[in-house]
C-alpha cells in the first residue's frame, strides 16, 4: 500500500474513534442521568460512580501503556522514538485521569461517607501512584541528548511500575492488620445490575475510547513540537552559516 493509502486509512480511523467517543459519551449521559434509577441508599450521588470507576480504569490503563511503551523502547530490537513519545503522552493522561478519579471520589465521598477523604488503602495507593508519575513527568524535563533522555525516561517508567504493587500491598496490609476500614465497609458496596450496570459499562467504553483519542492527539502534538524544534535549530544554523559567509566575503573584498 502506498503512503497516501495509509494516510487515508489513518484519517478514517481517527474520525471513527472521534465518533465513538461522542456517541458513547452521549449514551453515558443518557444512561447515567436519565435511564438508571437513583441508588436505594446513596441516592443521586451514586451516579458519580459512572464517571469515577471509568476514570480509575483509564488511569491504570494509561500507566500500563506507559510501561509497555517504555519496555518496547528499552528492548533494542523495537527501539523507536515513537514509543518514548507514546509513553510520555500516556503518562500525562494517566496523571490527568488519576486527579479526576480522586476528585470524583472525593465529591462522592462527602454525601455518602460524610467525609471528603479517608485513609483507605485504595485512596492512599492512588495518591502515591499520582506522585510517582508526576515525578516521572518531572524526570522527562531533565535536559540531555534525545537518546539518553528517552532511555532514562523508559527506566524511570519501569521502576515506577514495579513500585506500584509494592505500594499497594504494603498499604493494604497496613490498613487490614492495623485497623479495619471504618468508612468503606462492604455493606456500602452497591449491587449493580440492569440499567446501572449498563451505564457503568458504557462509561468504561466511553472513557477508554476518549483515552485512545486523547493519546492520539497528544502523540501528534509531540511529533509537531519535535519537528518545530528541529526546524528552529536548522533555521538558526542556516542563519549562522549565512552570517559567517557574509563576514568572510567582506574580509575577502576588503
Amino acid at each position: 500500500m502506498n503512503t497516501s493509502g495509509i494516510v487515508r486509512i489513518v484519517r478514517i480511523v481517527r474520525i471513527a474513534l472521534s465518533v465513538v467517543v461522542v456517541v458513547s459519551m452521549s449514551a453515558l449521559v443518557l444512561l447515567g442521568l436519565v435511564v438508571a434509577p437513583p441508588d436505594r441508599f446513596q441516592g443521586d450521588a451514586q451516579r458519580l460512580m459512572y464517571l469515577h470507576v471509568p476514570a480509575a480504569w483509564v488511569a491504570y490503563l494509561a500507566f500500563a501503556t506507559t510501561s509497555l511503551m517504555s519496555a518496547l523502547y528499552l528492548w533494542h530490537r523495537t527501539r523507536r522514538r515513537r514509543w518514548d513519545r507514546l509513553a510520555a503522552a500516556s503518562a500525562e493522561l494517566g496523571v490527568l485521569f488519576t486527579v479526576l478519579t480522586l476528585a470524583l471520589g472525593s465529591l462522592w465521598g462527602r454525601p455518602v461517607w460524610g467525609v471528603w477523604w479517608t485513609w483507605d488503602a485504595r485512596l492512599i495507593t492512588t495518591t502515591v501512584l499520582l506522585f510517582l508519575y508526576v515525578g516521572y513527568l518531572a524526570i522527562r524535563r531533565i535536559p540531555a541528548s534525545e537518546e539518553v533522555r528517552a532511555r532514562r525516561n523508559a527506566i524511570a517508567a519501569l521502576v515506577a511500575f514495579v513500585d506500584v504493587p509494592v505500594v499497594h500491598f504494603s498499604v493494604v496490609w497496613w490498613r487490614t492488620l492495623h485497623q479495619q476500614a471504618t468508612v468503606v465497609t462492604p455493606e456500602l458496596d452497591p449491587q449493580i445490575e440492569g440499567a446501572m450496570a449498563a451505564a457503568l459499562l458504557v462509561g468504561v467504553l466511553a472513557f477508554t475510547a476518549l483515552f485512545f483519542r486523547l493519546l492520539w492527539a497528544r502523540y501528534e502534538l509531540a511529533v509537531h513540537v519535535d519537528r518545530l524544534d528541529a526546524d528552529v535549530v536548522a533555521d538558526a544554523v542556516r542563519r549562522r552559516r549565512a552570517t559567517a559567509t557574509d563576514s568572510v566575503l567582506q574580509e575577502v573584498s576588503a
Binding site: I124, V128, F131, L132, V134, G135, A138, I139, I142, P143, A144, S145, E147, V148, R151, R152, I155, A156, V159, A160, V162, D163, V166, V167, F169, S170, V171, W173, W174, L177, H178
Partner: protein
C-alpha cells in the same frame, strides 16, 4: 557492558563493591561533609517534632516510630546527594567506569556506603529519641533487622533515583519528589515494625521485616540491572 565486565568473577565483583564502598566511606571519614549536614539536620528535626507536638501531650512516645523514620528519610536525601556529588567532581565516576569498574558493582558499592552512613545516623537519632521522648526500650532483634534492611532499602532506592536525577545534571531538588513516594512501602513497614518493637502497635513484626527485605531486594536488583544505562553518556 564491556567484555571485561562479563568476565568478572564473583570474587572480583564483590571486591569491586567493597572497593567502591570503602572509597566513599573513607572520603566521608576524612571530610565529614555528609555527617556535618545530616547529624545537625536530624537533630533539629527531633527537637522540632517535640516542639510541634507538645512534649507534655504524651503523644511523643506513641508517634516516635513514625517521627524516627521521617527524620531518617529526610536526612538520607543529603547522603545520596553527597554520594553523587563525589562522582561528579572531576568526573570521577566516568573515570571509574573507564578503568573497568562494573557499573552494577559501582551501584551496590555506593548503596552499601550510604547504608553504613544511614545506620550510624539511625543509631544516633534512635538513642536520642529513646532518651528525649521517653520511649520504652525496644526489642533488640526486631530493631536490628529493621534498621539493617530499611537502610539497605533506602540506600538502594536512593542510589537508583539519584542516578536518574542527580547523575544527569545535578538537580538534586527532584530527588525528594521522586524518592519519597517510592519509599512509601518502606516507611509503612519500618514504622509498623518499630511500633510493635516499642509496644505501641499490634501484629507480627516479621511480616513487616519481610516486606523490608523484599523492598531492598527489588531495588538492589533494579539498580544493578539499570545503573549502566543510567550513568552511560549522561
Amino acid at each position: 557492558m564491556s567484555s571485561s565486565h562479563a568476565r568478572l568473577t564473583a570474587a572480583g565483583f564483590t571486591s569491586q563493591i567493597a572497593t567502591v564502598a570503602r572509597k566513599d566511606l573513607e572520603i566521608e571519614a576524612r571530610t565529614g561533609v555528609a555527617a556535618g549536614r545530616m547529624v545537625p539536620f536530624a537533630g533539629i528535626l527531633v527537637v522540632l517534632f517535640a516542639i510541634a507536638l507538645d512534649p507534655d501531650s504524651g503523644l511523643l512516645p506513641r508517634l516516635a516510630p513514625g517521627l524516627f523514620w521521617i527524620a531518617v528519610l529526610l536526612s538520607a536525601l543529603m547522603a545520596i546527594t553527597r554520594s553523587f556529588a563525589l562522582e561528579r567532581e572531576h568526573r570521577a565516576g566516568e573515570g571509574l567506569i573507564g578503568a573497568g569498574l562494573d557499573p552494577a558493582a559501582m551501584f551496590l558499592g555506593k548503596a552499601a556506603a550510604i547504608a553504613v552512613e544511614l545506620l550510624t545516623l539511625e543509631l544516633l537519632v534512635g538513642s536520642t529519641m529513646v532518651v528525649l521522648y521517653e520511649v520504652s526500650r525496644p526489642g533488640a532483634v526486631i530493631v536490628a533487622a529493621c534498621l539493617l534492611l530499611a537502610s539497605a532499602g533506602i540506600a538502594c532506592a536512593g542510589t537508583l533515583y539519584g542516578a536518574l536525577t542527580i547523575a544527569g545534571d545535578g538537580r538534586d531538588s527532584l530527588l525528594a519528589v521522586l524518592l519519597l513516594p517510592a519509599l512509601v512501602p518502606l516507611m509503612v513497614a519500618a514504622t509498623r515494625a518499630f511500633e510493635i518493637a516499642v509496644d505501641v502497635g499490634t501484629g507480627t513484626a516479621t511480616t513487616w521485616v519481610g516486606l523490608l527485605g523484599v523492598f531492598a531486594a527489588i531495588y538492589a536488583s533494579l539498580g544493578s540491572l539499570t545503573f549502566a544505562s543510567l550513568i552511560e553518556e549522561t
